[in-house]
Assembly symmetry: C2
Amino acid sequence: MCERCNYLEMLQAVGLDPTPLREAVFRCVGEESRPLVAAEIMTRIQSRMSINKVTLYRILDLLVDSGLVRRLSAGDRAWRYGMGASHHHPDHPHFVCSRCGLIECLEPNLLPFDLTRIHPKGKGVVRHVDVRFEGTCEKCLHGGN
Amino acid sequence: MCERCNYLEMLQAVGLDPTPLREAVFRCVGEESRPLVAAEIMTRIQSRMSINKVTLYRILDLLVDSGLVRRLSAGDRAWRYGMGASHHHPDHPHFVCSRCGLIECLEPNLLPFDLTRIHPKGKGVVRHVDVRFEGTCEKCLHGGN
DNA sequence: CTTCCCTTGCAACTTGGTTGCATACGTATT
DNA sequence: AATACGTATGCAACCAAGTTGCAAGGGAAG
């Protein structure tokens, strides 16, 4: 999806040593148009280099903690990993298929107002607002997944 | 939270045989002010009657499938179960603490716009829109959970 | 060349939930 | 009453995704 991001630079900017595996994982997430499951990332990376699943999970944790990557739930028990909000990747709502677990990114400006301006009272600190449209995707509707 | 709901009636309305366990589980979810983890529901029910975890999960599945109950993710790997939208339980956004997994219900009218009017193009059928404010709750902020 | 820290790998483990199958119970049928 | 059938519940074993603990590699610092 995104060839404009300088992944190495972004890793360094958040203080992460840009090792080949970290770059590969981050790039893998960044170049995809939808959030991926860890196993999908694993497969993609292993087509070019070798990586252990523990390492993958640890790198994903680092990326999530640093804010470069966001962890999303699809209703099943595997996380999806998508790009965190940044210059080339503005925050956006998602469509989630509750049947097959597909998550798709929606237009950043789909919502008619800026939710980040809302601050629920007495609820501690809010870091971001997540909007998810849940339903059944085209494929499941027709293919009868 | 809710003593106005007729749980037995609601179960029957969606075509579920209102067995004692089903009523107990549904009531347990309905009387709580925040979505509960399966283990919490388990404990509450076992204080009065005996239930097996498999049965609990199966009942929760039934309730979720029928729409009476909603399954929410807190960022950890355990589902939270809260009331589905209905007359006494209007749809509402949630606050989610990414540190301890707490989910709290927010005011139904917190959002200045009805998100259900938005229909993302070419994305199949949307059943509902979920808004989640993610951050750190008061307790984690101060207690240093 | 030794020390230290950070990254990666491997095996075993944990957790939350699920499957398969047996049992119980209610209702309908003979 | 006895039988059969469908649904609800229970028990034990299992599963998938992710985590822990610990060892090994590798590079910069001393």
